[in-house]
């Protein structure tokens, strides 16, 4: 790691949210975080890469366990007031392999290797004087340092803390690791630049890239949602009817299949959103269809080798007519297209009889034409109320995820009491309704312009959520 790549060593007393800050800034939900003090026993390094090049590194450290005693030892090792950092180094060297001051040596080592200090305190508990030993040790290292006032609970002692921290740190910032959105993270990175000039270039690049990445995530999430909605609006299933069976008899079967397909697609879309925002442990809740009364559209169609019976007939007729036309042309038009007409009739009849052979006897074909179709196409599922529910759920997930800090543990709960779509301005909602209507009239391969229009509509909503 070159000197220009800043290393931020996150230090503080046990259980003050150091790992949470690292998880949030590193956008990594796998950083071990626990309510139990002393979870972090080693100094763990997390590097932010841009195209394989490290732009900054965060070091999660064990918390101070006995700062006053450590300070006392350091004081003893100091020979001259001007070489405080040498005393700290001597302390680390002296206790590196000892069973004493294990945490203190581990947290100080990366600082002495050139790390910048991020000292974390909890602004929701009162300040007390025994924190001064920690701050004093950090000051003695002589490294650039910043204090971060985290908020773990509900109390508010931030002013008290700021006053105390101001005596030891040139920069004091508030940062709620569990509630920090993207803009808060960027603001914090921007304030890191004030620590020293050396890290500025690298951090500028990181900030610039992260901003672009955030836009990309939003766009990709919108794409995942639009793909889901298109699927809900166009997905159909084809079922073959047995002799004597009616389309209505297969309704439940078709409904079940379509619901399973939609559930799968929805889960896939939600997971895609989680992945975009680097959440690896979240799961989405399952869509409950019980509240919807589905009335599927059933489309009867004859199919032989992918062609409807009507298509086969017309195809045969056209083929025959084509041959006949050739004869007409050869005759210089003197046959008055008679050959074309005869060719068409012959071709159509042949196609009809041929399709009959594939399905059984011609009589069976006639019977089926009179009696109904063999293949019934059911769907789509996503119409009326359901599509709005699917949209709402996806938007709620995307909104929650875009604002969720990676330090937050536990499941992501989506409340059904917050219908986003209903809260949108009428013209925005109408536009979505029109898009749904246009898409539902398409086959599964929706034209590019409609797909991108829907994605843009969703992306605009996600952008609004982030700004709100």
């Amino acid at each position: 790691v070159s000197a220009a790549v800043p290393v931020f060593v996150v230090v503080g007393r046990v259980n003050k949210g150091k790992s949470s800050i690292v998880a949030t800034l590193a956008e990594r939900d796998t950083v071990p975080i626990s309510d139990e003090p002393g979870t972090t026993r080693e100094a763990n390094r997390y590097s932010r890469d841009v195209d394989g090049t490290i732009v900054f590194t965060l070091v999660d450290t064990p918390g101070f366990q006995d700062a006053p005693a450590a300070l006392e030892q350091i004081r003893k090792l100091r020979t001259d007031a001007s070489v405080s950092d040498q005393a700290v180094k001597a302390f680390v060297d002296a206790y590196r392999n000892s069973r004493e001051f294990v945490e203190e040596t581990r947290l100080l080592a990366p600082i002495l290797e050139g790390g910048r200090i991020l000292y974390v305190v909890d602004g929701t508990v009162p300040y007390s004087g025994d924190f001064e030993a920690e701050m004093e040790i950090l000051r003695w290292t002589g490294r650039p340092r910043m204090a971060l006032v985290n908020r773990i609970g509900t109390g508010d002692y931030v002013d008290e803390w700021k006053k105390a921290l101001g005596q030891y740190f040139s920069l004091v910032r508030e940062f709620d690791a569990n509630r920090a959105g993207f803009d808060d993270r960027i603001r914090l990175l921007e304030s890191f630049r004030e620590l020293d000039e050396e890290s500025r270039t690298s951090l500028d690049r990181a900030i610039d890239v992260l901003r672009g990445e955030q836009r990309h995530r939003r766009r990709e999430s919108a794409r995942a949602i639009s793909t889901l909605l298109i699927s809900a609006l166009t997905q159909r299933v084809e079922l073959e009817l047995k002799p004597g069976e009616r389309a209505e008899d297969r309704h439940e079967d078709a409904l079940g299949r379509l619901q399973n397909l939609l559930r799968d697609r929805e889960r896939h879309a939600h997971e895609e959103i989680f992945r975009q925002y680097c959440f690896t442990r979240l799961k989405s809740s399952e869509l409950n269809f019980a509240v919807f009364k589905e009335d599927l559209f059933a489309e009867k169609t004859w199919q032989v080798l992918g062609l409807t019976h009507g298509q086969l007939l017309v195809a045969g007729a056209l083929g025959g007519a084509g041959v006949g036309l050739g004869i007409d042309v050869a005759a210089g038009g003197h046959t008055f297209l008679l050959a074309s007409v005869i060719g068409g009739v012959v071709g159509g009849t042949a196609a009809f009889l041929r399709s009959g052979k594939k399905l059984g006897s011609p009589w069976k074909v006639i019977k089926n034409i009179i009696g109904g179709s063999r293949i019934v196409r059911f769907g789509p599922l996503g119409k009326d109320k359901l599509i709005w529910v699917v949209l709402d759920r996806a938007l709620i997930y995307a909104r929650s995820i875009s604002k969720r800090a990676h330090s937050v543990q536990g499941e992501l709960t989506v409340s059904g009491n917050d219908p986003i779509a209903r809260g949108l301005p009428a013209d925005v909602r109408t536009k979505a309704g029109k898009l749904f209507s246009r898409i539902s009239r398409q086959s599964q391969d929706v034209p590019d312009d409609l797909t991108s229009e829907l994605r843009e509509w969703i992306e605009q909503r996600l952008e609004e959520f982030e700004r709100a």
Binding site: D49, D66, L210, G332, S452
Partner: protein
């Protein structure tokens, strides 16, 4: 922004299908690597150029796209040749004149103009923008099947399902398949009309064709003249003399039964050659105006449309947009530089009942943590209220050597309720006499009446950790909150 070629589009679609099922991270990383290797001359906003750079340009091994485009070229040539052949055969056939009967103008108009007008009308209807049908129409289905079969040859060994997808996806690009079909049809149409014109001119120049018109229908010369005049209106302002005159229409009405022009005497077949041959400019201009010209216009329109589709697709197609974006955007990731150990559960300490508290009225010593300074009066009241004890002495950590091993007097070690049982505090407790009851009193220095749930959890951790690490001491953990 650079547009794509048809071969590029085809190749990119093949690429998308080939990479289907591959992890997105792997794809993104690969695209970014390619993007970084790109010539600096390609502006990042030029999605078309970025996408084109993804296609291998090896002339020795043509891509599926170049093979597709080449095959399409052959297909167009075939259509052009077929059109030329048909146009020539039909026009030569229609204007075939043996001298027995004149060439029926109505016949020529029906075959070369009427049919084309009907076809043109159908084409206009087909091009009216509308929603695509859920089930592909006959023409579309046939076209798709033909394309699919063709692609099986162009891309041997490919999964047929992927090819089917590829064919289907082509039309999603703003109806590309439809426009390719329109263009192909116009190539045939233009060739046909050119050949028809050439055939007609050949007959006119190299033989003396006599024209007439005859029909079984009640169709008088005035009506037919009206129709001919209406048909001539597009060129009437440029070539006013090439509009059939009323006199020519009347004079060239022909009867097959009589074997003569109606206004001529029986057996008298001679008529002014300027009259019987006078229909030819009208016929040539009709074929040119209603056959060739619309085909040329539609051919140009379809060509422009296809170019527009190819130009706009990189920006409109979601998959292509992503590919271009992946090439431009740096990949951001976080990596742990060493294996991260998962939090391990602390081993359980000894479990057993807490030692009994002395009864009210007992006296105790206080060991006050350095961070706290509640004042003696406050402590007196607190200890009296909480335990009913009196305070004998208040000591600081630095006074450890003053603490006596008086077994009957509890030692109340007061710490901030917000602090964890750190090693420093444990070290302090370890220095206390083992024969004394030590009560850890956790005091919230800023108690404002509200109980923070975290305090309960911290107290539990004190209990657990001290039982585990200082099991040899007589310890008990208590909250120093005032009881309600």
């Amino acid at each position: 922004m650079s547009g794509l070629g048809l071969a590029d589009l085809f190749d990119l679609e093949s690429l998308v299908l080939k990479e289907k099922g591959e992890s997105e991270e792997a794809r993104r990383s690969r695209y970014r690597d390619r993007g970084r290797l790109l010539d600096q001359g390609i502006p990042p906003e030029d999605a078309g150029a970025l996408l084109q750079s993804l296609i291998p340009r090896d002339l020795s091994s043509p891509t599926p796209g170049t093979r597709f485009e080449a095959a399409l070229g052959w297909f167009h040539s075939f259509l052009a040749l077929s059109g030329l052949l048909c146009g020539a055969v039909i026009s030569l056939g229609l204007l075939h004149y043996t001298g027995d009967h004149p060439v029926n103008v109505l016949n020529v108009l029906a075959a070369l103009v009427g049919v084309q007008l009907v076809l043109l009308l159908l084409l206009v209807i087909a091009l009216i923008p509308r929603n695509r049908k859920r089930v592909p129409g006959l023409v579309q289905e046939f076209l798709l099947r033909g394309l699919q079969r063709f692609m099986t040859r162009v891309m041997p060994g490919s999964d047929p399902h992927l090819l089917k997808d590829l064919v289907r996806r082509l039309d999603a690009h703003m109806g590309l398949t439809r426009w390719l079909l329109v263009r192909a049809a116009q190539i045939f149409g233009v060739s046909f009309n050119l050949a028809a014109l050439a055939g007609c001119l050949y007959r006119i120049v190299f033989s003396d064709v006599a024209f007439g018109w005859s029909t079984t229908l009640h169709f008088n010369a005035t009506t037919f003249h009206g129709i001919a005049e209406a048909l001539s209106s597009p060129w009437a302002w440029i070539f006013p003399h090439e509009v059939p005159s009323q006199q020519m229409v009347e004079l060239t009405q022909y009867s097959h039964l009589e074997g003569k022009y109606l206004l001529r005497a029986a057996g008298d077949r001679s008529l002014n050659p300027w009259i019987v041959g006078g229909w030819w400019p009208f016929l040539i201009l009709s074929i040119g105006t209603y056959g060739l010209l619309p085909r040329l216009i539609v051919l140009a329109l379809s060509g422009l449309r296809i170019r527009r589709i190819l130009r706009e697709t990189p920006g409109r197609n979601e998959e292509f947009r992503r590919m271009a974006e992946w090439m431009k955007l740096p990949v951001v990731s976080t990596r742990a530089d060493s294996p991260i150990s998962s939090p391990t559960a602390a081993p359980e300490g000894r479990s057993g009942p807490d030692p009994e508290l002395p009864p009210p009225g007992a006296s105790c010593d206080i060991l006050l943590d350095g961070s706290l300074d509640p004042g003696r009066d406050f402590l007196d009241r607190l200890v009296q209220d909480r335990f009913g004890w009196t305070i004998s002495d208040v000591l600081a950590p630095k006074d450890l050597d003053r603490i006596q091993g008086t077994p009957d007097r509890p030692l109340l070690a007061v710490f901030s309720a917000w602090e964890e049982p750190t090693k420093g505090r444990q070290r302090l407790l370890r220095g206390l006499p083992k024969n004394r009851l030590i009560v850890i009193g956790l005091l919230n220095p800023s108690a404002n009446g509200s109980q923070d749930p975290r305090l309960e959890r911290i107290r539990e951790r004190w209990k657990r950790q001290l039982q585990r690490d200082l099991g040899d001491l007589r310890l008990r953990v208590e909250s120093l909150e005032r009881r309600p």
